[in-house]
C-alpha cells in the first residue's frame, strides 16, 4: 500500500509539473477573449466621425471573430465615449483602464490625443490614434501609433491639386480654432508658401459655432478661387451649407471628417456639387481589392456608403489583431513591439509601415461626389510624407 501511495504521489507531482510546464510553453498568454478598447467621439460635435469609427471597428471585429479570432481567442470590443472634448476623452480613457484591455484604438482629434498622451505613457497602453496633427505622434512617445497620414499629407494634397491641376492661385482657408484646425491651417499656408503663394484670406471659427455667415462673406469678398475647409464637427457641413446659400461658387476642399458619410447625409445635392475632399485614404480606389471588398461589406451591413473614417478604423482593428497575433506574450511591451514591427500591411484604407515615430502611411486621394453623394475617385497621391 505504501508503495502504491508513493506512486500516486509521484504521479500527482509529475502531472502538476507537467501542467506547469505546458503553461510555461505558452508564455503568459491566456485563453480567454482578448479585450480591445475603442475610445471615440460617439456624442457631441464629432459624433458623425465616431459613428463611422464604431461601424468600421465592429465590422472588422465581426469578421475576425467569424474567422476564428486571434490565435483562437475571440476579440471583445469595449467601447467608451470620448464626448467631443479632451476632458471627456481623459475620463473615458480612465474607465477603459479598469476594463483590462490589451490595447486601445483611440480618438480622432489631435487635442484629445495630446490630452491622453501622459496617460498613455504612464499606463503603458499600446494605442492607435487617429489624429493627424504632427504633435500628436513624435519621438519620445513610444506607445502611440498613428494610423492615418499626418497633417502635412492632408494639407499638401488639396493645395497641390488646386494649384497644379486646377491652376488656381487665390486660395482661402477656413478652419476651426482647435489643435487640428490650427495645425492644418499652418500646414496649408506653408505649402502655399512653398509654391510661391499666400492665402487670400484665413478665417477662423470656434468648434461650436452656429453661424458662418461672416466668415463665408469675407471669403467671397476676397475673390478666392478655392476654399480649404478644415473642420472636424458640425462647422464642416455648416460651412458648405453657408457657401451654397451665399452662392460661393468655387471648389470647396474638405478633409475626411468633412467628407464623412454621416456628414454628407446632412447636405443636399446642390450643396455637395462644388465639394471635393482631400482624403488620407485609398479606400475609393477601384484597383484596391481590399477596399472594394470592404466597401461592399460595409454597405451591406450598415446601408450607408463607407468613408475615410470607417475604412481607417476598420484597418486599425485588423492592425490590432495582427499585432496581438504576433506578440510574443500578452505584455504591453510585447504588443507595442509587435505593432512597431508591422511592415507593408495592405489594408482597405492604406498601406501600413510604422516608423520609429509611430507614423504609418502615405497614400491619399482626391474625390468628388456625384448627385447621390457617392465619392468618385479623381486621383490617388503617394505623398513624400507619412
Amino acid at each position: 500500500m505504501k508503495v502504491q501511495r508513493a506512486g500516486l504521489i509521484a504521479l500527482g507531482t509529475t502531472l502538476v509539473f507537467a501542467a506547469s510546464a505546458c503553461s510555461a510553453d505558452t508564455g503568459s498568454k491566456s485563453d480567454g477573449p482578448i479585450r480591445i478598447g475603442l475610445l471615440n467621439t460617439f456624442t457631441g460635435g464629432g459624433a458623425a466621425v465616431g459613428q463611422s469609427a464604431r461601424n468600421g471597428v465592429e465590422l472588422a471585429v465581426d469578421e475576425l471573430n467569424k474567422s476564428g479570432g486571434v490565435n483562437g481567442r475571440q476579440i471583445e470590443l469595449v467601447r467608451e465615449d470620448a464626448g467631443s472634448t479632451p476632458a471627456t476623452a481623459v475620463s473615458g480613457f480612465k474607465r477603459l483602464q479598469s476594463e483590462n484591455i490589451s490595447l486601445l484604438i483611440g480618438t480622432p482629434l489631435t487635442s484629445m490625443a495630446l490630452a491622453l498622451d501622459p496617460l498613455i505613457a504612464s499606463s503603458k497602453m499600446p494605442t492607435f490614434i487617429y489624429a493627424s496633427g504632427l504633435s500628436a505622434v513624435e519621438a519620445g512617445r513610444p506607445w502611440a501609433f498613428r494610423f492615418i497620414p499626418d497633417a502635412r499629407v492632408e494639407a499638401t494634397v488639396p493645395i497641390d491639386y488646386a494649384v497644379k491641376t486646377l491652376k488656381l492661385t487665390k486660395i482661402a482657408i477656413l478652419h476651426e480654432s482647435s489643435d487640428f484646425g490650427n495645425d492644418g491651417a499652418a500646414k496649408l499656408t506653408a505649402r502655399l508658401d512653398e509654391l510661391g503663394l499666400k492665402p487670400v484670406t484665413v478665417e477662423t471659427n470656434s468648434v461650436d459655432v452656429t453661424s458662418l455667415q461672416a466668415q463665408i462673406t469675407s471669403i467671397k469678398s476676397s475673390g478666392a478661387q478655392a476654399l480649404m475647409v478644415w473642420e472636424t464637427g458640425t462647422p464642416g457641413p455648416l460651412a458648405i451649407k453657408t457657401a451654397f446659400n451665399l452662392n460661393l461658387d468655387i471648389p470647396l476642399f474638405t478633409t475626411g471628417a468633412g467628407a464623412n458619410a454621416n456628414v454628407l447625409k446632412t447636405l443636399s445635392e446642390g450643396e455637395v456639387s462644388s465639394l471635393r475632399a482631400a482624403l488620407v485614404t485609398n479606400v475609393f480606389d477601384p484597383e484596391n481589392a481590399k477596399a472594394v471588398e470592404f466597401n461592399k461589406n460595409y454597405k451591406a451591413k450598415y446601408n450607408i456608403t463607407s468613408d475615410q473614417n470607417a475604412a481607417a478604423y476598420y484597418d486599425a482593428a485588423y492592425l490590432a489583431a495582427e499585432a496581438l497575433k504576433n506578440a510574443k506574450d500578452d505584455s504591453p511591451e510585447a504588443i507595442r513591439d509587435a505593432i512597431a514591427a508591422i511592415s507593408g500591411y495592405k489594408g482597405a484604407s492604406n498601406t501600413y509601415d510604422f516608423d520609429d515615430d509611430g507614423n504609418c502611411c502615405n497614400l491619399a486621394s482626391i474625390v468628388e461626389f456625384d448627385s447621390d453623394k457617392k465619392p468618385k475617385l479623381v486621383q490617388v497621391v503617394e505623398s513624400p510624407f507619412k
Binding site: A48, T210, T217, V263
Partner: protein
C-alpha cells in the same frame, strides 16, 4: 460685404429675438428664468423634422403642426416644474431649468441619436441675387415669421383677455390669484407660448445650419445677451436686442476677427452690464432680483 453681413446678422438676430421673446414672457409673468430655452429651440428643430419625416408633410403643414406640439411640451413643463417655481427664488429656476435643458439634450440624443442632421428649407433652396447681396427664401421666411410673431404677440398681450390676464400675473401674481384668476391655467398658457416661440426659432434656423442635440447651448448665449441688451424683462427690448446682437456679432466677426465671434457676445454682455445694466428698455436688474 457690409450689406451681406447685415442680412446674415438680421437672420441670426431674428432667431435670438423669437427665442428671447418667449424667455422674457415667462420671466415677466412667472418670475422664472428659463435656461432651457436654448434646448427647447433644439427640440423645435427635431420635432419639426420628425413631423416632416413621419407624416410626409413639409412646408407650412409642418409649421402648423409644430405649434400644438410645442405648446403641449410647454404645458407639460409647467405642470411638472414651473408651477412649483412660482414665487420661489429665481436661483431655483436657473438651476432647475438648466437641468431640464441637459435632460432635453439627453432625450434628443436618445431618441434621434447623436449624429447631426439637416432640415430642408421650407420654401426650397432658392437664392435671390439682389445687387451685392444673396438672400435665400429661408432668410426671407425667418424675417417674415419673426415680424408676424411680434405682431401676434402684441395683439395677444394688448387686445385679448388672455393677454390682459397674463399682464395681470406679470404685475402681481399673488394679487391675481386672490382676485380669482386661474393662475396655473394662465401660467401653463404662458409657458406654452414661450415654448412655441423657442420651437419656431429652432424650426426657422434649422435649414440654415446643422442640427445636433447640443445646438441650443451656443445659441442660448446669444439669446441671453439679446435679452440683457434689450433690457431684462422688456418684451420690445428682447426683439430690438435680438436684432442688435445678431448684427453686431456678425459684423464684428466679419470686420474685426472671425476667431473671436463668441467672445464678442461676452464682450457685449459685459459692456452692457457695466455701462447700462438696465439695457435699452428694461428695468434696473437689481430692482428685480
Amino acid at each position: 460685404m457690409f450689406a451681406q453681413l447685415l442680412v446674415g446678422g438680421l437672420t441670426l438676430g431674428c432667431v435670438y429675438a423669437l427665442a428671447g421673446l418667449g424667455f422674457v414672457l415667462v420671466f415677466r409673468t412667472l418670475g422664472a428664468v428659463n435656461f432651457a430655452q436654448g434646448d427647447l429651440l433644439t427640440v423645435g428643430s427635431y420635432v419639426a423634422a420628425s413631423i416632416g419625416a413621419s407624416l410626409h408633410v413639409g412646408g407650412f403643414v409642418q409649421l402648423i403642426l409644430l405649434v400644438p406640439a410645442m405648446a403641449l411640451c410647454g404645458v407639460l413643463l409647467y405642470v411638472l416644474l414651473f408651477r412649483w417655481l412660482v414665487g420661489r427664488s429665481f436661483l431655483n429656476s436657473v438651476i432647475l431649468t438648466a437641468v431640464v435643458g441637459m435632460a432635453a439634450q439627453a432625450a434628443i440624443r436618445a431618441v434621434y441619436g447623436p449624429v447631426p442632421r439637416s432640415v430642408p428649407p421650407l420654401l426650397g433652396p432658392t437664392r435671390h441675387e439682389w445687387g451685392p447681396i444673396t438672400v435665400t427664401n429661408q432668410e426671407l421666411l425667418v424675417a417674415g415669421v419673426t415680424a408676424s410673431c411680434v405682431v401676434l404677440m402684441y395683439l395677444l398681450l394688448q387686445r385679448t383677455m388672455l393677454g390682459r390676464t397674463m399682464r395681470a400675473l406679470a404685475s402681481d401674481f399673488e394679487m391675481a390669484r386672490v382676485l380669482g384668476v386661474r393662475v396655473h391655467t394662465i401660467g401653463a398658457a404662458v409657458l406654452a407660448v414661450g415654448t412655441v416661440l423657442a420651437g419656431l426659432a429652432g424650426f426657422l434656423i434649422a435649414p440654415t445650419l446643422v442640427v445636433s442635440p447640443q445646438l441650443g447651448s451656443p445659441l442660448l448665449l446669444g439669446v441671453f445677451t439679446a435679452i440683457v441688451v434689450g433690457g431684462f424683462g422688456s418684451i420690445p427690448g428682447s426683439i430690438v436686442g435680438g436684432v442688435v446682437v445678431g448684427m453686431v456679432e456678425t459684423l464684428a466677426a466679419g470686420y474685426l476677427s472671425s476667431a473671436y465671434q463668441s467672445v464678442f457676445l461676452f464682450l457685449i454682455l459685459t459692456m452692457v452690464l457695466l455701462i447700462r445694466p438696465r439695457g435699452i428698455f428694461g428695468e434696473h436688474l437689481a430692482a428685480r432680483f
